[in-house]
Symmetry: C2
Subunit: 197 residues, 2 copies
Amino acid sequence: MSPATSSRWCPTPEQLMILEELYRRGIKTPNASQIQRITAHLSLYGNIEGKNVFYWFQNHKARDRQKLKRNLIKQQQLQYQLYHPDLHYLQQNQSNHHYPILNYFDPPPPPPHTSSPLYSLSYHKSPAFPPQEGLEGAPAQMMMNHPWKVDIPFISSIRPLETLELFPITATNFKEECKDNNKISPKLISTDHFLSL
Amino acid sequence: MSPATSSRWCPTPEQLMILEELYRRGIKTPNASQIQRITAHLSLYGNIEGKNVFYWFQNHKARDRQKLKRNLIKQQQLQYQLYHPDLHYLQQNQSNHHYPILNYFDPPPPPPHTSSPLYSLSYHKSPAFPPQEGLEGAPAQMMMNHPWKVDIPFISSIRPLETLELFPITATNFKEECKDNNKISPKLISTDHFLSL
DNA sequence: GCAAATTAATGATTTATTCAAG
DNA sequence: CTTGAATAAATCATTAATTTGC
């Protein structure tokens, strides 16, 4: 009203709580109609106009994403510390009678830094791997556009990666016809033994 | 090998178990590199190619979501039955000392049906509101291009919508200056009482 | 028991949405 | 605002489960 009032909207606690609750309940980018109704209601608790509501949701959503980003970074730092110590043991001979090492996760996040554009890494394209011969970090969907002639490289040529041992059973030839696939004794592959973390 | 083989991939139990385990461990949408490595490993247990792995994760994730959807619908049906008996009481006079009804969500789940496209309702944009005078369901961003002269209509002209009663506290005038806003006793607005689902 | 017929699962494609870089 | 890159949703198509009648 008067020029003495502050130059920008200052949400009252009630307004804030309602906005936050609406956000939690799924309203992330209200449309014009929703904004009007929200504004009308919130005006009961203090001066407010539509743009305040609009900007609030915009900012809140954006800063929500930032929080997620930061949490992801923390988790990745944890995983890095968990997996890095095991790297030496990956150098071992793989030609034993166990099925080979299994870990399809991306290489541990680079030496932990605090502020890097990291959210896009797990949500969008992962710049991911050091260009492997003939692969060039192609996004999975791009593979879709080609006739899927991607050859399976020799196991030994694949980077063994970290730990996660699977299937200590011996390598009887399982390549059979489709119909026969389900006839393998369940005992043989009971879930309890492999996939030891 | 021979043309007698089936036209589509038929995962062996071992392949399936590994895929499921990887999924459980967090691999939901593997990138090209991961797909290749997974494919290479799974080829030990039977014929397989990259696209099979790609599709498997796509489908598995999608059908996982479908399960969640169905469970949500069941819960909503339960809630509907719990809350529906109260509808008559919404017709009561609203000029009491409670603050008005608050529900900015799109119209509630219609009378419980079993098979309706429901997930998009909460995840994607809601085609939302019946075109309100002069608003025409305009995307919120369009409002940005105009000088934000959107007037706040009278409360009574706003569609009260459904339930979700907020702030049963009395209507003391909270319109105060900015600086004072944060000084309201937290007790008065402790989150436990309102926003009852 | 056993196939033919029917239904449920699930692999494979296509189409729509989303996000954000240019 | 347009568009590129990626994912999610919807859909089609084939295989496996199962039901059914004999």
